[in-house]
């Protein structure tokens, strides 16, 4: 018995989220679904769960072609979707949450609380007799794993044959994960198939009978979990068509003279990330790589903002400091160019000039008083330096192309040409940027390093990192692994390192 998705295409304006995907999900298996962000996993499970309609393609349940018109329709046809964010109502009890929207009534809309309590207990006992949960407790006071179980029990309320679990363990502490894993494994023998979407490869590999890999909206492969290693899975997720090896750029040969240590940290615990030791020297470009959720982006950001900082020692330019924060790090000569530029870096309604002047407005002002003339001159200089294509400095930033926006996002740190930075931290420096702008940005990063700035580049673009970095630190599930030197750069090496292969 299967649900079969055949030749599914999902076309959005300008992008194709799914490109002729064929997969079948058995009611007797845990089916892992993996891929990097943007690979199409979310779109695929939304179609399977009925909340999105494909542009073209067919869906067949047990061989009968059907349409899943809405999430409710899919539910009626036996497919339930437990989303990542959670859909419990805090304040209501676990039992009330299990039967939310299907409460037993006494008539006149009055809820039969005793019958509700009894039916919730029956449901929990029928599906997971080994689990003890206080059904009267407010659901938000329960451990995270128990909350997930409550959501799953609610999803299994009807005649469900296929359960979609979207990142079910993402919010769970490690010790609670195993309980949930047992629960997931217990479903297929009882005729409920599971579609497991997860960023944790080891988890997918351990739980799944078969694994499907998506990449850039295409179906890469579906194969039995036992026949594939984690490193191979990473390979499937990342490998770009026609490229088998990372092309090592012509620029770096390790000849750059590394200067004194700029920033050095030890025993850092920040958010879900632990780094025993990390140091960077003047003029050095260090790349941070990892799978989605490995923690490299958060780590790069925390070096500037201190976000999520729990413990650890930090030395910057020879001076110890308690924990970083944006203003003091900026004062020490650190620049931070974040990912998601419209959200983290630019003000959409502002002009190019105003955006450029955000970091160092003093360059266009006398004693705190802005001079439009000075500002325009400084803005034009920054635009020329970065080759920003806009009608004028007065054009609104949101009307520029992605590449030009990104150049402004970087250029605003260099507006007014302040003295050189000690450290510049880039996250996804060429996200959504065309190839020409990408080359220019890479050239600037090299120039800045050559002038003695230490540079950190956290990127999901392996080619980019291989091309510009002197050294690469792979992150695996919140831990920094052994750094790779330039001589060791190769796509297979990167992929093995990101999969946690200790070689």
């Amino acid at each position: 018995m299967t649900v079969r998705l055949a030749d599914i295409v999902m076309q959005y304006p300008g992008t194709r989220a799914l490109d002729h995907v064929d997969v079948d999900f058995l009611f007797s298996e845990v089916h892992g679904l993996i891929g990097e962000n943007g690979a199409g996993k979310t779109t695929l499970v939304s179609i399977l769960g009925g909340s999105k309609q494909p542009t073209s393609g067919t869906i067949a349940i047990a061989g009968v072609e059907t349409v899943l018109a809405s999430a409710g329709d899919a539910l009626a046809k036996g497919i339930a979707h437990v989303s990542q964010e959670g859909s419990l109502v805090p304040g209501l009890s676990a039992a009330q949450n299990i039967l939310l929207g299907d409460e037993p009534r006494l008539g006149l809309g009055i809820i039969d609380t005793r019958a509700l309590r009894r039916r919730a207990a029956e449901l929990l006992d029928r599906w997971f007799p080994q689990v003890a949960i206080d059904l009267d407790a407010a659901v938000d006071t329960l451990p995270m794993a128990d909350q997930k179980v409550i959501e799953i029990v609610r999803a299994l309320r009807g005649e469900i044959r296929l359960l979609i679990l979207d990142e079910p363990t993402a919010t769970l502490p490690a010790r609670e994960k195993e309980n949930l894993w047992r629960i997931i494994r217990s479903l297929p023998p009882r005729g409920v198939g599971v579609v497991l979407v997860s960023h944790f490869l080891s988890e997918v590999k351990a739980l799944s009978d078969r694994i499907t890999v998506l990449r850039d909206g295409r179906h890469v492969t579906t194969l039995p979990s036992a026949e594939v290693s984690e490193a191979q899975l990473v390979d499937f997720m990342l490998q770009r068509a026609g490229k088998t090896a990372v092309a090592i750029g012509e620029n770096g040969d390790g000849a750059r003279a590394a200067g004194e240590t700029v920033m050095e940290i030890a025993d850092w615990h920040v958010g879900g990330v632990r780094v025993d030791r990390f140091a960077i020297r003047a003029g050095e470009i260090v790349g941070l790589i990892g799978l989605t959720g490995a923690g490299h982006f958060g780590f790069a950001r925390s070096l500037y903002t201190g976000e999520g900082f729990l413990s650890g020692s930090t030395v910057f330019a020879g001076q110890p400091l308690a924990r970083p924060d944006a203003r003091s790090m900026k004062a020490r000569g650190v620049a931070f160019i974040p990912d998601h530029r419209m959200e983290n870096s630019l003000i959409g309604e502002w002009s190019v000039r105003e955006n450029l002047a955000m970091v160092h407005p003093h360059a266009g002002a006398h004693a705190g008083v802005l001079s439009m003339g000075l500002e325009e001159k400084a803005a034009r200089a920054a635009m020329a330096l970065f080759n920003v294509k806009a009608h004028s400095p007065e054009q609104r930033i949101q009307d520029l192309s992605g590449g030009n926006k990104q150049k402004v996002s970087i250029g605003k740190w260099l507006y007014g040409a302040p003295e050189r930075y000690r450290l510049m931290i880039f996250v996804e420096p060429t996200e959504g940027v065309d190839i020409g702008a990408k080359r220019e940005i890479h050239r600037h990063i090299h120039r800045l390093a050559a002038e003695g700035t230490a540079i950190i580049v956290a990127s999901s673009d392996l080619m980019e990192v291989a091309d510009i970095a002197d050294r690469v630190v792979p992150f695996v599930q919140g831990q920094a692994a052994r750094a790779l030197s330039r001589a060791e750069f190769s796509e297979s090496r990167f992929i093995a390192a990101m999969a946690g292969d200790p070689k």
Binding site: Q11, P13, G14, Y304, T305, A326, R327, K330, A331, F336, P338, E343, N344, S345, L346, I347, G348, E349, W350, E354, A357, M358, V359, P361, H362, A365, G368, V369, L370, D399, K412
Partner: protein, 330 residues
């Protein structure tokens, strides 16, 4: 290829349509103001007379000052609902001080101090404790209301106010009310701060994209606080001038400045940079409200009708702004 080309063309047409809408929007409010003015001038006898026009200026001067202060709050995306009672607070504090013999300059400094204190409390509640400004200032407004009435027993404070003080609210220099000079002074200061200083730029930055501003090294907490302090400071100064105009301190005189003040900012947000509160826009907004209040008064409409008309105007202004721009109020 054609499948992709068509949405692009449509997007372009939509964006040019949008920019034309915005152009219309920028000037439609000014046009409406002009038509309103012309309408009253043609139909109401006593409207277009020098004394009535000066009267309008006097009537809107306090409102403009309150509105200019609120503009800082809106720019930083913080709402101050306590301004009306802050007007009232300083409107009774200054006469009280004067009657008990405090010299005028010191009494005015007292108004500044009161405004600063209210602003500091509001901003602590908002930026340190994390209460949304809409709710924090609603509560502090209620507290101020109580203080205003308790401290006066609900009665007006009058008699024995020095001439110098009354001159501020009722006198003229070169045939123009002193209040008009005060209004112009405050508007110019506010405009300069907002449009020509790093201080104002950063207030707009924390309102435009707080995360981007903070990641650029801007002290978000400071500038959000500063915006709320300016709201209260300007309201307190308006309160002192209001007492001078009325020749007495009245505990409930400030109340209408909240709604009218918000109205000036909302109307102002339809022009200059649509969707953004600007000092110039607020000034025209105050003029709009002033002309309506005055004209309806002359026609003999009672205040309840005026209240309905103003409510409708606020709705129209906010509807226009939120349909044509990405209005971000809260």
């Amino acid at each position: 290829m054609t499948a992709q080309a068509r949405p692009l063309v449509e997007a372009k047409e939509a964006s040019s349509r949008k920019s034309r809408d915005q152009w219309l929007l920028k000037y439609s409010t000014l046009l409406a103001l002009f038509l309103l003015f012309a309408g009253f001038a043609l139909t109401v006898d006593r409207f277009l007379t020098a004394s009535n026009l000066l009267n309008i200026v006097q009537q809107i001067s306090m409102l403009t000052i309150v509105g200019a202060g609120l503009t800082f709050g809106f720019a930083a995306r913080e709402m101050d609902l306590s301004v009306g009672y802050t007007v009232g607070l300083s409107g009774i504090l200054v006469p009280l001080m004067l009657i008990s013999g405090v010299p005028l300059p010191i009494a005015l400094l007292g108004a500044v101090a009161a405004g600063f204190a209210v602003g500091a409390i509001n901003s602590m509640l908002v930026t340190l404790i994390g209460i949304p400004s809409l709710i924090a200032t609603l509560a502090t407004g209620s507290i101020l209301y109580g203080i205003n009435f308790m401290s006066t027993g609900g009665r007006a404070i009058y008699g024995g106010l020095p001439d110098g003080f009354l001159f501020l609210g009722q006198g003229q220099i070169l045939g123009i009310p002193v209040l008009a000079y005060a209004m112009v002074l405050f508007v110019l200061v506010a405009w300069f701060l907002m449009e020509r200083t790093i201080f104002g730029r950063y207030i707009y930055a924390v309102g435009g994209n707080l995360k981007a501003a903070e990641l650029s090294g801007v002290n978000g907490r400071f500038y959000r606080s500063a915006a709320l302090v300016v709201c209260s400071l300007f309201a307190a100064m308006a309160g002192a001038l209001l007492a001078a105009r009325l020749g007495s301190g009245q505990p409930n005189a400030g109340e209408r400045y909240l709604l009218d003040g918000l109205a000036t900012v909302f109307i102002g947000m339809t022009m200059i940079r649509p969707g953004t509160a600007t000092v110039t826009g607020t000034f025209f907004g105050a003029l709009f409200i002033g002309v309506i209040n005055n004209g309806l008064n002359l026609v003999g409409m009672d205040t309840y009708v005026q209240s309905i008309v103003k409510g409708l105007i606020i709705l129209v202004a906010v509807a226009i702004v939120s349909r044509t721009t990405k209005l971000k109020l809260l």
